[in-house]
Amino acid sequence: MSASPNHPIGKSVPRKEGRKKVTGQALYVDDISFAEMIYGVTVRSSVPRGRITNISFAGDTPWDEFTIVTAKDIRDIGGENYVALILNDQPYLADEVVNHAEEAIVLLAHPNKYLLEEARRNVRIEYEELPAILTLEDSVDKKEIIWGEDNVFKTFLVDKGNVDEAWTNADLIVEGEYFTGAQEQLYIENNGVIAIANEHDGVTVWGSMQCPYYVHKALIKLFALPEDKVRVIQTETGGGFGGKEEYPSIIAGHAALLSLKCGKPVKIIYDRAEDMVATTKRHPSRTRHKTAVTKDGKLVAMDIEFVIDGGAYCTLSPVVLSRGTIHAAGPYFSPNVRIRSSAVATNIPPHGAFRGFGAPQGIFALERHLDKVAKAVGLTPDEFRRRNFIQQGETTATSQIIREKVDMAGLLDRAFELTGYHEKRQRFAKENEQSRVKKGIGFATFMHGAGFTGSGEVYLASVVGAEATSEGRVKILAASTEIGQGTNTIFAQIASEALGVDSDLIEVAQPDTANVPNSGPTVASRTCMVVGKLVESAVLALKQTLVGSGLLREDYSQSEFQEACRTHIEKFGPLKTFSTYQAPPNIHWNDEKYQGDAYGAYAWAVYVAEVSVDSLTYEAQVEDFVALQEVGRVINPVLATGQIEGGVAQGIGFTLFENVVWQNGRMANNQMTNYIMPTPADIPPIRVYFEENPYAYGPGGAKGIGELPMDGPAPAILNAIENATGVSFDHVPLMPEAIMENLTNVLHGITL
């Protein structure tokens, strides 16, 4: 190994694109313009389910100046009217029937944005309304069959041991039911794209997105084009959180359809109202637990039923369900576990990827439920968990043997020390008797698997390239996107560490399907651990090529490395190396039985929340928050801390503020005035701590962290609220109105 001048892994190297962002030089899609470019808008359904009986173009709009696209145009070009993803059931443009409010029906383009909005209001669509299913419960009860034969997109069964026989061995059986709501991603930059399409060149799209190759795959089908006639380029992206995982395929297709028809570049940028009302949100969920324990608090059996509301089309629901299912039993050992899960259809806009991807829903239910079980068995929440934490060598719900070192009890000790948990537990109980403001402290213990579930990474077979330039720089070629989380910076750090050259010498190529290989989607906490490892091996292959050609000694200086690159390119032409994903050894997954090594590695965490509940207004405020996690190795402390802080803040929003109000299957509060995200005044100091335990198959020992912080806040906060008020709540978002309904009896007359 060569001498690395500064060992950048573990250092807070400044964000690669940070200077451009803060000085306004970074170009987001709405900053980009092309000659003759015009604008596009989408006309959407106003009913949750119905048959389209007529479309008319009314008012004094000069319709002959407009480009108008409907489902018929897709037929005319010989394309497939579906968004290619998993089941291909979602049309680009509704044809005859609509299955949710705000479904796209007509596209319009015109050079004048203002006239375009007036025209959008003048398109009249008439429907014959059909009965709609608007809640998860009604879908499960099959009040109406609205999708397939049974309203079910996907089911999973995880079955370990024998749950049915275990009930007889139990001293105690505890049941519970838990609910989580939808949540909007609220990235700062709304969805937007520019498309240029014509018969000669095919389709090119620039846009704000997480997964260029998902868009690529979808456009190939929509336009019936060969791979090399579709090109997708990610522009600087202002946040994603999963909200730009699958949706950009739709808006990109829409812009490209308009462009193909009018022969000009077309830009579509959603405003906040449209982005909130029409695009994906977190899947609402219902979880039922039936848990058998012995009288000394050992888990005997966990029977879990997990249902998520997928909305009107399948989209990514099976994958979200998969992660939610596997995380539903948490970091505990139980000899018998059964998890039955399903994703069901409703006539609301499809729910989709959102940071945590099903895990926060299941973990919320479990971590609330375990406090209930602990109480029933007469143990404190922490003592009950200590008796059941999974240990190295034990098996998870999918019978995965945990081979890495894991120490949940040690994490719990440290988290309690950092928060003064036990002292506060006692003190608050005493103070609350006399106080109008009730204080409480609670926690959640959990894990999050990094990378795609099961054999997902093997199927993806991601590729990363490294290219040397004649100036002796190294360019990383990957489709993994920088969406604010730090991809560019950590890739440079990983490559720099592996090559022993400055991270300034590393460039990260703009994701462009014409220039970079498919390193997989930027999702699932996989970019650092999985793709980062490929970056490391691709640059090491580059170094080996230089060494093997005799141009570089094993022990080299930075200038020798640069010189070797230059010479190699002069002698042999372009120097590029590629690395393809290979599963670490001992990873086996049975997709049919849902048993085996679900994830290569898990991050482990303990989050502790301190809350106060004002008995005058029933408002809960998080007063202190400690997030402690073991994430392998931290590549960049500032970026990693930022990820955790942001995730916890988003988790606090999920728990106490962000309430999607549905009216007839449509989000009624699709403005930031009425969909409430917490401000800094609503967020406590978030104290972030890492434990490091390097993972052998992650770059420099790193595991994934992006989604982890979304999992812990909701249960930790509701556990703290129970500690404060004595009332157990079973759903999020938990609004003051709901706290009031349950608390007035408890509090009224006691403290006022």
Binding site: K113, Y114, L115, E117, E118, R121, D271, A273, S615, L616, T617, Y618, E619, Q621, F657, V661, A668, N669, Q671, T673, N674, I676, P678, T679, P680, A681, D682, P736, E737, M740, E741, T744, L752
Partner: protein
């Protein structure tokens, strides 16, 4: 921007007289546009139905704060920022300053005006409960002359007011009191900052020897208009400040208000929190 901008007109008269000429010429066609902090939001969303606006932002006659022995008089264009900075208001009308500080963010506070907050007539506005408890009066001017009206009674129904289409709200007058008042203001919003009220409570009282000599109570976000709770005031005025009086006051207020359900909150919540805030107000009064 969803509005079709060419369909809108904004005229900027150079003086109050010319502004009144415009308002008088085609009664109701032109409406005043002050800081624009409410109207611009609707415009952006394509939900601003009225098309013709009279820009009054530059009218000097509507600016400034005047203090006399009897009154503090604020120009209708006084911004929330100016309200917070005014020393007399801080000392004698602190709830108005608090309301201003809890309205929107800094940019809104620099641009939003007290007059605009009144005539926009949102029942959820933050300053009206304070203005109601301080017995504010409003000056309405038209070509026909000026008149002063009590703010209490100004709103007659949801977005309905006694101001005529040819009249402009020019000044807001607050009577100064020789007596030492106790003040209690609490905005319960959807979050700690930059929020719209779910319940907004303002109360003032004068207590002597354990007896409530006088008090005023107003609530926002509870009714179609900012509500002065006169029945509850009458029930408490002259009574002892003790637990039975507080229980009695809760009962009277419970009958005086009929809050609504909307996308921000529920009727039950608004009801219960209003009663709790009334009780908290009374308990915090020092005898």
């Amino acid at each position: 921007m969803r509005a079709y901008i060419p369909s809108y007109q904004l005229v900027t008269p150079p003086s109050l007289g010319e502004a009144l000429d415009v308002l008088a010429a085609d009664g109701g066609v032109w409406r005043p546009f002050a800081g624009g902090t409410d109207l611009m939001v609707l415009l952006e969303a394509g939900k601003l139905p009225h098309k013709n606006y009279l820009n009054i932002w530059n009218l000097k006659e509507l600016r400034g704060i005047e203090v006399t022995a009897q009154h503090v008089t604020l120009g209708a264009l006084t911004t929330y920022t100016e309200v917070q900075q005014e020393k007399v208001l801080q000392e004698e009308f602190p709830m108005l300053c608090q309301a201003a500080s809890e309205t929107g963010g800094l940019a809104i506070q620099n641009r939003g005006t007290l007059g605009g907050n009144i005539v926009n007539a949102s029942p959820a506005a933050d300053s009206p409960p304070a203005l109601l408890t301080y017995d504010a009066e409003l000056e309405l001017i038209s070509l026909g002359g000026a008149r002063w009206v009590a703010y209490h009674g100004f709103h007659t129904g949801y977005k309905q007011m006694i101001i005529r289409p040819d009249e402009l709200l020019t000044r807001i007058r607050l009577p100064r009191s020789a007596d030492k008042l106790q003040h209690y203001y609490r905005k319960v919003g959807t979050r700690k900052a930059q929020a719209i009220s779910k319940v907004c409570f303002a109360g003032t009282a004068q207590v002597r020897d354990g007896k409530i000599e006088d008090l005023r109570i107003a609530l926002g976000s509870i009714a179609p208009v900012p509500l002065r709770c006169v029945k509850t005031e009458d029930a408490l005025r002259g009574s002892e400040l003790n637990q039975p009086a507080i229980a009695q006051a809760r009962a009277v207020l419970a009958n005086e208000i009929v809050p609504i359900d909307d996308i921000r909150s529920t009727s039950n919540y608004r009801h219960q929190v209003s009663l709790n805030l009334l009780e908290d107000f009374l308990r915090q009064l020092s005898a």
